[in-house]
Every structure is written in C-alpha cells, then in structure tokens.
Amino acid sequence: MLVVENLHVSYGHIQALSGVSITVPQGSIVSIIGSNGAGKTTLLNTISGLVKQHQGGIKFKGQELGWVPHSIVQQGIVQVPEGRKIFAGLTVEENLLAGGYILRDPKHLRSNVNKMMELYPILGSRKHQQAGTLSGGEQQMLAVCRGLMSEPELILLDEPSLGLAPIIVKSIFDLIGQIRQQGITVLLVEQNAKKALALSDYAYVLENGHVTMEGKGRDLLCDPAVKRAYLGEKE
C-alpha cells in the first residue's frame, strides 16, 4: 500500500535518513523500532509532508504522494504525532471535529464524532471540557480518535505509548489491534519494542538513519541482536 524507496533526508549537514526503504502492505501492522535519534519521527514526518526536502520516492497505492500535508491527508494518510499534540485549549469535542476537518458533509462529521464517543465514553462525558485537562492516557486516546475521524486508509502512529502507565499502554495496544480489524493499515513507531513487535506483522529496525534489520515481528522478537539492543535481555 505504502512503498518508501531509498529515502534520503538531511537537516542541513546532518543526515537523518540515508537510503531507507520500507513497504507497508494493505491491512497490516508494520512497526519501526529504534533508539532516540534513529530517524523514526523524521521518516513519519517525511511521509506526512511536514519534512519537505527529501530524495527518493514515496508511493501510496501506486501513486506519488502529494507535497503538502493537507493533500496527503486527503489521499488517506493521517499521522498521530508523538507527544499527543492535542489542541489543549479546545474542547474534547472540538478536537474531534478538527480531526474530521476534511469531511465535507456535516452529518457525516457528526456521526463520526458520536462513533468515537461510543468507542470511548470518557470522551463523550468530557466533551465540553478543555482537552488539556484530560489525563495523559485520555489525551492519547483522544489523539488517536482524532486521527481516525477523517477515516484514513493508513494511520501513522508515533510513539503512542510514550510516558504512559503500563495498564494504559496495554489499552493503547488493544486499540491498535482494533484499528487493524476495521481494515485500517497501521504504521507504528515505537520504543516499546516488545509490545510493538508482538503486535506487528512486519517490523524494521532503524539505526542512525539506516534500516539495519527487518523481518516478521515474531522473528525479530526472538532475534538475539534485537533482544540485546532493544529488549534489555542479557545473554
């Protein structure tokens, strides 16, 4: 569905990505793991069009991807950014409405808002509350729901479990599973390698802007090198 080929991105003299190629098949969950500064967020931001200067091809459903973020959203790719980035001063409901900005039919928009509130009743009961007053876990749920509002075909999740309590991390990963069941393809960037790999169909390990390893999620989970570097296990 999404094919990234030989992608090079640099910020000034700093090479953030050098020759990254990944493939995300339709209906799958593909994850990218790697340490801080490996280029994971840069990769997502380049796909989303926030990082403009790049070399290499990005194709979505066989077509070249647009150059500006809003046209990429219209093509069906939505990113849920790292650190949630909810609109803190807008109400929960307004955050959801903002997520569905590209939907033209007001009834359609309204029914999607109601759907999200059924999915997470907490969002419904707090709809008139400023989103900044929600707890971290609730904000992350809101951020993901906001991303789903425009009914994307591919959703890019950037570190959805960052800074959350283990029990909430579990519900986030449950949600990611549900998203896939709805037929939405997921590209997941995570530092929580164990959970991400267990859930993924396919995974890439990114180090210093290079893909150093790739394989099925289960296989990587058992790989000694991955275990050492990302799962904290000693031999």
Binding site: P69, V78, P81, K85, A88, E94, A98, Y101, G132
Partner: protein
C-alpha cells in the same frame, strides 16, 4: 461617574475592541505583534473617505454611512490578503524566527503610512457629515449619534467574528492553528488558507476601525499609530485572547473617558501607560489570559 460618561467610554472601547481583536487574531496564529495593522487602518480609513465622497453623489445618511463601512471593510480584506502574501507567507514557509515577522510588519506599516502620504499628502481630512442630527436622547441620556453607531456597528462586527470563530469550520481551523500549526496540518488543514482567512478577518476589522477612527478624530497619515490603543487593550485583556481583548478594550475606553474628565486629556495617557506597565509587571497574562499547558 455618570451614565453619560460610561456610555461614551463603552462606545470608544468598542472601537478599541475592533483594533485589539484584529491585532489579537494575528498574534494568536503567528505569535507576533502585527504593527502593520496600524497601516491597514490608515489605508482603509482613506479608502473609506474616498468611497464616502464617491457615494455621496447618490446616497446620504445611513445608506452612505453603510456604503462607506462596507467599502472600507472590503478594502481591508484585500489589503489583508496582499499583506499576507507579500510580507509574511515566505517567512512562514521558511520557518523563520519571530523577529523577521516583527521587522516585516513594522516595515509594511511604515510603507502603507507613506503610500497614503504620497497620494493624500500629510494634510488633515475629515469625513463628510453623515447625519443632520448629531445627538440623540436615549433613556434620558444624550449620546452622540456617531458614538451610538460606533457601538452598534462594532459590536455587530465582533459578534459576527465570534460566530465565525466558534460556529464554523474555518473558525475551528483558525483556533486549532493557533495552538499548533504542524498538528493542524496533519489534520488536513491548509495552513496557507487558514492564515489567509485570518488576515482577511483582521483586515475587515481594521477597515471598520479605520473609518470610525477617521470619524472620531481627523484623518491623517499617522492615524494608524492608534494601534497602540489596541495593543494596550490586548495587554490588559490578555495577549492572544479574543474575549480578553474585547474586555480590555472596553475597560480602556471607560478608563480613558474617566481619566480625561478627571485629570485632563494631557496627562490621561500617562496614567493609561502606568496601568499597562502595572499589568505587565503584576499580571502579564492579562485579565482573561489563561495559560493552558499540554501534558508532556
């Protein structure tokens, strides 16, 4: 303080509110104090004058007044578009530092002021007299007709703006963009279009404010320096808060009218600035400014 003075203050404050809100709209999104807004007011005030002279061949009274306001507002919208394209879009797309916006806005302000000086010279002009009647009596209070109209039209303009901001999609986009541009882009919002819409709204308010300032004072190229009033109102109300700017502006209007009658027009500004400095020192976020923080 008499009701009379209160009314005068509120109507003056409503014009300040137009200035302050036009100022706050841009501040909200681009996070800089747009002093070019003063230039927009000057330019549109003169365009309004030209329109009033032009239309006075066919119209008089309220229709003429309305035609003048509409022309100035339209001119304001167009000036807003040109301003955004010329002075700010490139800076924004290059993610340049805020100081660039600041310099660009001051430059544009001075440019517009001098364009007016070239075409209209630096002499003083005044708007034609729109109405025969100059004072109306309302609930046993005498109020100047222009003051009353100022109050009515300014509040209407501000109500329409609030409706757009809180009830329409483009309004939601403007508010979303004011929190986080990149994330708003990721929601499919076209930041170029949204920023343009903001400048159009600010330009329209600037146009209406320009006409009122021109009627209230006289027309001269430095009229735009009254932007300072909008700035003070914004600081008192809370920089970046639309409702705060309105509250601050009305307070400022009432305060000024009271001070002028208490200590005279000469020293009144001294007290106004002292109050602004006190606010900056004691409560820099202003009256309505609440700082909403995201959880990291």
């Amino acid at each position: 303080m008499s009701i009379q003075q209160l009314l005068n203050g509120v109507s003056l404050g409503s014009v300040y509110a137009l200035i302050a809100v036009g100022f706050a709209l841009v501040f909200n999104i681009l996070k800089f104090s747009n002093f070019a807004h003063g230039g927009v007011m000057t330019l549109t005030a003169y365009i309004g004058l030209a329109a009033s002279l032009f239309f006075s061949r066919w119209l008089s009274g309220l229709p003429l007044f309305g035609a003048t306001l509409v022309s100035a507002a339209l001119a304001g919208a167009i000036v807003g578009i040109v301003l955004e394209r010329m002075a700010f879009r490139r800076i924004r797309n290059n993610n340049s530092p805020v100081i660039y916006y600041f310099i660009s806005s001051i430059t544009m302000g001075i440019l517009m002021e001098n364009i007016v000086t070239i075409f209209a010279s630096s002499t003083f002009y005044s708007y034609p007299k729109f109405f025969e009647l100059s004072v109306v009596e309302l609930f046993h209070v005498n109020i100047a007709l222009t003051d009353l109209l100022m109050l009515v039209f300014s509040s209407t303009a501000l109500m329409i703006l609030l409706w757009v901001l809180y009830r329409t999609k483009i309004g939601l986009a403007i508010r979303a963009l004011s929190f986080d541009v990149n994330t708003a882009n990721l929601m499919g919002m076209d930041s170029n279009r949204v920023v343009m819409a903001t400048f159009i709204a600010a330009g329209i308010l600037g146009g209406v404010a320009g006409v009122f300032l021109g009627i209230n004072y006289t027309l001269y190229p430095q009229l735009g320096q009254l932007i300072v009033k909008g700035f003070i109102a914004s600081v008192i109300g809370g920089l970046g808060s639309i409702t705060g700017a309105m509250i601050g502006a009305v307070l400022l209007g009432v305060l000024e009218v009271t001070l002028i009658s208490a200590v005279g027009a000469g020293i009144a500004p001294v007290f106004v600035f002292i109050i602004m400095l006190t606010f900056l020192l004691v409560r820099p976020r202003g009256i309505a400014g609440v700082i909403v923080q995201e959880k990291a």
